[in-house]
């Protein structure tokens, strides 16, 4: 059982929870995630990246977007409430080393998992370029935190309401053209990661993507998180979540992410969700 120590709303539908989890806080490394379950009997188990951890305080931070029933359940918690089950840290930590210049590309909620990686890359002595994107201004999260890490910082919005009016792949391409990039890390919606991979491929820039497949156990037991990487079947929860983006079959991954779409839609019409989130806000 993990107590919620703090809850913050970061944007319209993005929330941050600080959870009591001393064992996880002391073992976790950048790139790893946890599986949370609000209650043992009927709740779903959902994976969320460990966005930050405080070993001394024995706490971890998760940042999530309300996209369905389980994330809504989490958003409804307040400081003092408990999350019955928190398992982690899971997955392989990101391989952090000094390579030179690293471009970190984050889209939407993907900025949350990207933050600890960018931080670690910087700490290892790399020059870090950060490109952040969102559909519109009010969906941007962690801008100040990311800006503080970056040696070069670019923000894009799809609708031009803030920063450049572009997709993140546009500045990524320009940077690659200038040369001197040693590594790229892309985290965001599958479609964004796919196009980031296509952008860096011609330049031969090694690129990692962190995959957000459907998961159940997170221990390698169910195979629900399987993806095809370099023609081989890999389990994201134990072999990943990071893989060489140039080898990932994103098209199949996107298909599989939609596996339970009909069931999920039944559980939460978009309008009902937004209404619930708005109600949360009003209560404040």
């Amino acid at each position: 059982m993990s107590k919620v120590l703090k809850k913050t709303q970061l944007s319209r539908d993005v929330f941050q929870l600080v959870l009591e989890a001393p064992e996880i806080a002391s073992e976790r490394r950048a790139g790893q995630f946890v599986i949370l379950q609000a209650d043992s009997d009927y709740s779903e188990r959902i994976p969320l990246t460990i966005a930050d951890a405080d070993e001394a305080a024995g706490s971890i931070t998760v940042i999530f977007q309300v996209v369905g029933k389980s994330t809504l359940k989490l958003a409804q918690l307040d400081a003092g409430d408990v999350v019955e089950n928190v398992l982690g840290p899971l997955g392989m930590p990101t391989h952090i080393e000094k390579v030179g210049t690293v471009v970190c590309v984050g889209g939407g909620i993907g900025v949350a998992p990207l933050h600890p990686i960018a931080q670690a890359m910087k700490k290892a002595g790399n020059r870090v370029i950060i490109i952040m994107g969102a559909r519109t201004k009010e969906l941007l999260i962690l801008e100040d935190e990311m800006r503080a890490i970056a040696d070069e910082f670019i923000v894009c919005t799809d609708d031009g309401s803030y920063g450049r009016k572009d997709l993140v792949t546009a500045p990524l391409k320009e940077i690659c053209e200038k040369g001197g990039v040693d590594l790229a890390v892309a985290i965001g919606p599958a479609i964004m990661m796919k196009f980031c991979a296509e952008t860096t491929r011609p330049f031969g820039v090694k690129t990692y993507a962190s995959l957000n497949t459907i998961m159940v156990d997170g221990t390698g037991m169910c195979g629900g998180c399987r993806v095809t990487v370099g023609g081989k079947t890999k389990f994201v929860c134990v072999d990943g979540p990071e893989f060489n983006a140039h080898e990932v079959d994103f098209d199949n991954m996107m298909l599989r992410q939609r596996s339970y779409k009909p069931q999920e839609q039944e559980a939460n019409h978009k309008c009902r969700l937004q209404q619930a989130v708005d109600e949360l806000q009003e209560q404040k």
């Binding site: 089950n85 159940v216 037991m221 169910c222 195979g223 199949n252």
Partner: protein, 494 residues
């Protein structure tokens, strides 16, 4: 086997009991008593509910079945039992109506009789050696040892008299048990009895291993498992759920830094195999582990309450022929599939599933396609499963396992329309512990190598159950957990 209503079985047993003079039974009279069928829910009813299929013997039936036993001097059945239960001993006590004595005899060797009575493959173990079956020239007519075992264990639980074992005075030693399947649960109990402090680590949010996430409610009601776990708790075992050894903490850290004097690894064979054929990545294809976990552990069989989604296709194909395949197929019916097909590349005779499960599956209306194997899975433009292309097979020469090898018949391809496919091809061992603990040696399939005392290549670390044996059985896992506990207790006594 065709379905006989429970009431009728009871009536028949009552009539028979009145006719028999039990004081003067000769072996041939015993052989003449008909084998007592297991009463079960009506097939068309049970296929749509999650309650236990087999109801359990009526008292009259236990009496008759126990009287069928010849009390053989050499007791060949004991040799067939992986944990050498005194079978004629407990059957005799049951025949005499002393159920407490009967269950006590079983418990000398098995910690989980209510579970083993339900899930052991008796037909390949004790019953395969039974003199009654041999005399009747039909091994399916052997004494129904497991059904008697189940009856006496259930009787004890229902009396609310389950006694707790004695616990030796505290030794100050601390033991880590990793995994809460039958191997881990048994090891935890036996080590605790010796007075050591025991911490049981489990990755999931519930205890029981495959018994909780894999074997369905309709075959093993979870209240039975919960009772066993309650007992463990009242023995003073500390339980740490949501703890993945290797990630939350490394095994070597438990031993070197956290003060554990020994550890037992019982992490099971939880790595689902796939066929690596075209279309396995389509939407609607899942492993049996995923399907059953969603259904059992995440309770997707109560769709009005559970948040976890599950495929409720109308036509489901299950590929495989073991218990896992039978469970997945029967669960698919219960979560809404209208037609379920089991696709197996050999014949019914070679199927590794328990006979009773196969019979039950047939009664419930599941279609079996033998000598058939998938070639590829077909999908539509949205990547959803629409069908499965299969090949017909025939049996050829025997292979290493002694079973005749299936060989494909060229050009025999045919397509079945399906909207979901469940792969039940068995499990390999979970590599997490061995990957994060290089000191532990494994064989080429990733199973941990353990010696006759269940000791691994790492000092103070023991292992048992499916992680050592590969996908095996509950009773073998329990037996290894027990043996490992013995070794650990010996080590700590030094």
């Amino acid at each position: 086997m065709s379905y006989i209503p429970a009431d009728k079985l009871r009536e028949e047993a009552q009539e028979l009991i009145n006719k028999i003079d039990f004081s003067a039974l000769k072996p041939k009279d015993r052989l003449a008593i008909p084998m007592q069928e297991m009463p079960a829910q009506e097939p068309s009813v049970r296929a749509k509910n999650i309650q236990e299929v087999a109801i359990g013997y009526f008292e009259e039936q236990v009496k008759l079945e126990a009287e069928r036993c010849l009390q053989c001097k050499n007791a060949p059945c004991i040799k067939g039992c992986p944990v050498a239960i005194d079978i004629p001993g407990f059957i005799k006590a049951a025949a005499e109506g002393d159920y407490q004595k009967s269950v006590n005899i079983i418990k000398r060797n098995s910690m989980l009789p209510a579970i083993c009575g339900r899930v052991c493959p008796q037909e390949t173990q004790c019953m395969a050696e039974c003199t009654v079956g041999k005399s009747l020239k039909d091994m399916e007519k052997s004494v129904a040892i497991g059904r008697i075992e189940r009856f006496v264990a259930d009787w004890e639980r229902e009396q609310g008299r389950m006694s707790l074992p004695e616990i030796a005075p505290a030794t100050g030693k601390k033991v880590a048990i990793i995994g809460s399947g039958p191997a881990g649960l048994t090891a935890a109990a036996d080590v605790r009895k010796a007075g050591h402090e025991v911490v049981l680590f489990e990755a999931f949010h519930k205890l029981g291993g495959v018994m909780i996430y894999g074997i369905p409610e309709f075959r093993l009601p979870k209240v039975i498992l919960d009772k066993e776990i309650d007992n463990l708790l009242s023995m003073g075992v500390t339980i740490k759920k949501n703890f993945l050894v290797g990630r939350t903490r490394k095994l070597s850290d438990l031993i070197e830094k956290d003060g554990f004097d020994a550890a037992f690894v019982g992490t099971g064979a939880g790595l689902p195999n796939f066929m690596n054929i075209e279309g396995e990545g389509l939407v609607g294809v899942s492993s049996a582990n995923e399907f059953l976990t969603r259904a059992n552990l995440m309770k997707a069989y109560t769709p009005d309450k559970a948040d976890t989604p599950i495929f409720t296709g109308k036509k489901t194909a299950v590929v495989g022929g073991g218990n896992v395949a039978m469970d997945a197929a029967r669960m698919a019916l219960r979560v809404g599939a209208e037609e379920v097909y089991v696709i197996y590349r050999r014949t019914e005779k070679e199927m590794p599933a328990r006979r009773e499960e196969i019979a039950h599956a047939k009664e419930e209306g599941i279609t079996f396609l033998f000598l058939t194997n998938p070639k590829r899975i077909i999908g539509d433009k949205d990547g959803k499963v629409t069908g499965i292309e299969c090949l017909k097979y025939e049996l050829g020469e025997p292979d290493d396992s002694g079973r005749r090898k299936p060989v494909e018949i060229k050009g025999s391809e045919f397509i079945l329309e399906m909207d979901s496919v469940i792969m039940a091809l068995g499990n390999s061992s979970n590599p997490l512990i061995s990957q994060t603990t290089p000191e532990i040696n494994v064989n080429r399939w990733g199973n941990i190598l353990a010696d006759g005392d269940q000791k691994t290549s790492m000092e103070r670390v023991y292992a048992g159950g499916d992680i050592v044996l590969g996908a095996a059985t509950v009773i073998l896992a329990m037996g290894e957990g027990r043996k490992a506990a013995e070794s650990i207790n010996k080590l700590l006594a030094e």
